[in-house]
Each structure stands twice: as structure tokens, then as C-alpha cells.
Amino acid sequence: MRAYWAIISARFRTLLQYRAAAVAGFGTQLFWGLIRVMIFAAFYRSTKSSQPMTFPEVVTYIWLGQALFAMLPWSMDGDIRAMMRTGTVAYELLRPMDLYWTWYCRAIAMRIAPTLLRAIPLVIIAMPFLGMKLPASVGSGIAWAAATVGALAVGCAITNLVSVSLFWTISGEGVSRLIPVAVWVFSGAIIPLPLLPGWAQSVLYALPFRDLVDTPFRLYLGHIPACDIWYVLARQAVWTVAMVTLGRWVMARGTRMLVVQGG
């Protein structure tokens, strides 16, 4: 257990060094957020009918999304890809640790460290100046925090599925491009799911991606009542267990047929 904790904290400290990238990321997130707020503002101005989410709710939703952008499982671990290409993954297999959980710990650090660097300055700007609001109530805030931990668990399981797929594709070109699409569209990161057509909602509510963005953010807004947190956490737990099991099974098959190139 201590070894895994050491991996998380070592990776975490390494990733906190990328401050220039964080500044650039902060600028990009701010710009992107501004565009999206203006687009939604124009659409809301164009209609008189009432919508499933109010415009101020959407604004808070967008800034929350920009702040927590780095937490979504939209990228793969570059070091793991390099390991697969160069064959140093063989050393990883020799270590007296479970490879799946080692990678899972790397994923946790990879999602938290850059998020902290970007989220704090973004919220400091967005709260007073750009219309982002506090959680709807204390209960909503606590429920959101809990669901965010759950979202991290789901997200790292997805990240690991992508990493494990490298046993087959090596370059990861295809998977690394398709996963972000699924994550963006299906999680509600681009458009809040309540604004989508009904049939799309019923499909997306059944998928795990929703628990990355949709449920935590709507708990924050009070759009999903805080008392539903147990249902959300249960969903997240079931999906995490399912994807971890799948990931471990795929990894076991992958390591059995692994051929390390070079010498």
C-alpha cells in the first residue's frame, strides 16, 4: 500500500513542476470559457421559452467545467506510451507491484496535479468577475465534492483502459483520439446533458461518462438534489468496479502476448 502511495505523491510532485504549462492552460481555459458563455448567451437571448437549465446555471456549469478540465480522462499517460514504444514496459512488469494499480496511481496524480494548478486561479477570476456562483447550498457543495472524488475514480479507470489498449495499438493514435470525443460529448462537458434531445439523454444517462461531469456539476448547482448523492456514488462505484475489472482482464491478456521489441 505504501508503495502505491509513494507513486502517487512522487508523480504528483513531478507534475506540479509544469507551471508554465499550467499558465498556458489557464489562459486557454479562460478564453474557451468566454467563447462558450457568449455562444450560450446568444442562444438564450434567441428564445423566449423556458429551458431545463437557466442561463446563470449554464454559466456556472461552464466555468466549473473549465476549472476541472484537466481532471477529465481525455489524454493518455505519455510516459506509458513511451514505455510501450521503447520496450521499457518490461522493467515495469518485473517490479513486485501490480501493474494495473501502479498505472492507476499514476493516473490519479496525472488528473489531480494539473487540475489544482489550473482550477484555483480560474475560480479566483470566474467567481467575482465572470458569473460563476457558489454551490447552491452547503449540502450541494458537500455532495459535489463527494461526487468529484467518484468522478476521479471513474476517470482513472477510463484512463487505464486507454493505457491498456496500448498493448495492441502501440502508437495509441486511434484510441487516444476517439476516447476524448466520447468523453467530451457523452459526459456533458460540451453541452449540459439536460439541454440535449430527450432520446440522447436516455442513452447517455445509461453510460459511465455522465458521472464525470453531468452528475457532479448538477449536484453543485442543486439541479440534482443533494440527497441523491448516494445514488450517484453507487453508480460511480459500480462503473469503476466494472471498468477496473475489464481493464485488469484486458491487461492480463495483453501481458501474456506481449512481445518486447529490441534488446
Binding site: S46, V181, V185
Partner: protein
């Protein structure tokens, strides 16, 4: 001049052959690019599906705007891709080698990398553009066809210019400046909706400082016969593509200054 074009064609042929060595990877990248960028249209469609109209613009009209900028960006990020990887060449000192060769620096940088997987964005942009145009029953006069093609060429030049500008800055900063990405990727994101929906300061910035509005917004007003045309100078839509070309020429001048200023990192 013919030698220059001949050399560029050779670069293209090499790039195609190199990328065809990993055919599956190429196909996957192209499909990934297609789906990844088509998602933007999906978002636009979903918003129109819910809100029906956007400041008096319908979905097919917005689709024409969207299509032009996506097609322009697909080509405009394929050709000057070498400029995108240029900061790495400065760091490694590889630019010294380029300076030693008796050929134009711009041409050689262009030859460094050409990524054809952006054909995915090109395909979806073109489909959206043609769908929008056919849904609107646009009467394609020769002038309108010329303006559409001109707008795309102007847009290619505009994005080309931004990549050149980004590379030029690396002469001073050594490192790559991510901030330009907000103008390239962010520019597409911005310009896939009519620029008139944004706030005035934002609109002015993307009209007068960075001439993004000339890529697709102004030409589309004439192509779609939009009512906004009445309040604007009649010729504006027709000369808009020229602004993109002028922008590229200015950026290439900046590049020349950068090359003169260059001193090797010496590694």
C-alpha cells in the same frame, strides 16, 4: 520558381510515402480527426435543436459559416505544420542546417512536416458546407462559387499566417508559445458561429486586430444574401478573402525579420 514548386511537390510525395508506411495508424488518425471535429457540428446541431434560432441565423446558414472555416483550417493546418514544430528545431539547433542550404527557409520549413490526417476535418467541413448550402437552396452563380473558393483560400492564408507568426515568436522566446493556439484552435471555435453573436469588444478584436471575421463571416453575408449586407459597404464581402492573403504577407515579413534576428542556441 519552378524549382521551388518542384521541390515542394517532392516534399509532399515524401510525406505521403512516409505516412503510408503506417497505413492503419494513418486511417485511424484520419477517422479520429473526422469524429473529433464532427463533434463540434454535433454540438451546434444540438443547440439549434433546442433553441431553434441564433440571433436570426438558422442552422443551415450557420452550417455554411461553419463549413468554410473548417475546410480552411483543415488545409491551413496541414500545409504549414512545419511551422508548428519549428520551436523544437530552434531548441535543437536544427534551424542552422536549414540556413546553410541555398533554398528559401519558408519552403524548407514547410517540407519538414505535412500531416494528411487532417483530411478528416476537411471531409466533415465540406459535408456540412454542402449540406447547409443545399438546405438553403442557394443559387450558385459563378460569382458566389468564386467567393466561396476565395473565402477558403483567404482562410487558409489566415491560419497559415498565424502559424508563421507563432514560429516567428520562437526566435525570441525559444519556447513554443501556446497562447497562439487560442487564435488557431480558438479561432475555429469562435468562427464556426457567426461572429455577430459575440460581445462587441470580442467582435472588434477578431475583426480589426486578428482578421478572423474576414475568413468566413463577411464572405458568407454575400453568399447567403443576409440582411446585414445592407448596413455594410457593398464590396466588403467580396474583398474579404484578400484580407487573409494580406495577413499572410505581413506575417511572412515578420518571419524575415525573425530570421535576420536569429542567433543559434548553439547546441
Amino acid at each position: 520558381m519552378t524549382g521551388t514548386i518542384g521541390l515542394y511537390i517532392k516534399y509532399v510525395a515524401i510525406a505521403i510515402r512516409a505516412q503510408m508506411q503506417y497505413r492503419l495508424s494513418f486511417v485511424m488518425s484520419a477517422i479520429g480527426n473526422l469524429l473529433g471535429t464532427a463533434m463540434e457540428f454535433l454540438m451546434m446541431w444540438a443547440l439549434f435543436d433546442r433553441f431553434k434560432t441564433l440571433n436570426g441565423w438558422s442552422l443551415p446558414e450557420a452550417a455554411v459559416i461553419y463549413g468554410i472555416v473548417h475546410v480552411a483550417f483543415a488545409i491551413g493546418e496541414t500545409i504549414p505544420r512545419g511551422f508548428d514544430v519549428f520551436p523544437g528545431m530552434i531548441k535543437s539547433g536544427d534551424f542552422d542546417r536549414i540556413l546553410l542550404r541555398p533554398r528559401n527557409t519558408v519552403l524548407q520549413i514547410l517540407g519538414q512536416e505535412i500531416q494528411f490526417s487532417k483530411v478528416g476535418r476537411l471531409a466533415q467541413g465540406l459535408c456540412v458546407l454542402l449540406w447547409g448550402a443545399s438546405a438553403l437552396h442557394i443559387i450558385w452563380t459563378p460569382a458566389k462559387i468564386a467567393l466561396t473558393i476565395g473565402a477558403i483560400i483567404g482562410g487558409v492564408c489566415f491560419f497559415f499566417g498565424l502559424f508563421v507568426l507563432q514560429a516567428t515568436m520562437a526566435f525570441w522566446t525559444i519556447d513554443s508559445l501556446e497562447i497562439i493556439n487560442t487564435l488557431t484552435d480558438g479561432g475555429v471555435e469562435t468562427a464556426q458561429f457567426p461572429i455577430s453573436i459575440y460581445r462587441p469588444w470580442f467582435r472588434r478584436f477578431f475583426t480589426f486586430v486578428v482578421p478572423l471575421a474576414f475568413v468566413n463571416y463577411f464572405p458568407s453575408l454575400a453568399i447567403l444574401d443576409r440582411p446585414e449586407n445592407a448596413t455594410l459597404p457593398a464590396l466588403l464581402s467580396w474583398i474579404a478573402p484578400g484580407v487573409g492573403v494580406a495577413f499572410l504577407i505581413v506575417c511572412l515579413q515578420a518571419w524575415k525579420i525573425g530570421v535576420r534576428h536569429y542567433c543559434s542556441t548553439g547546441s
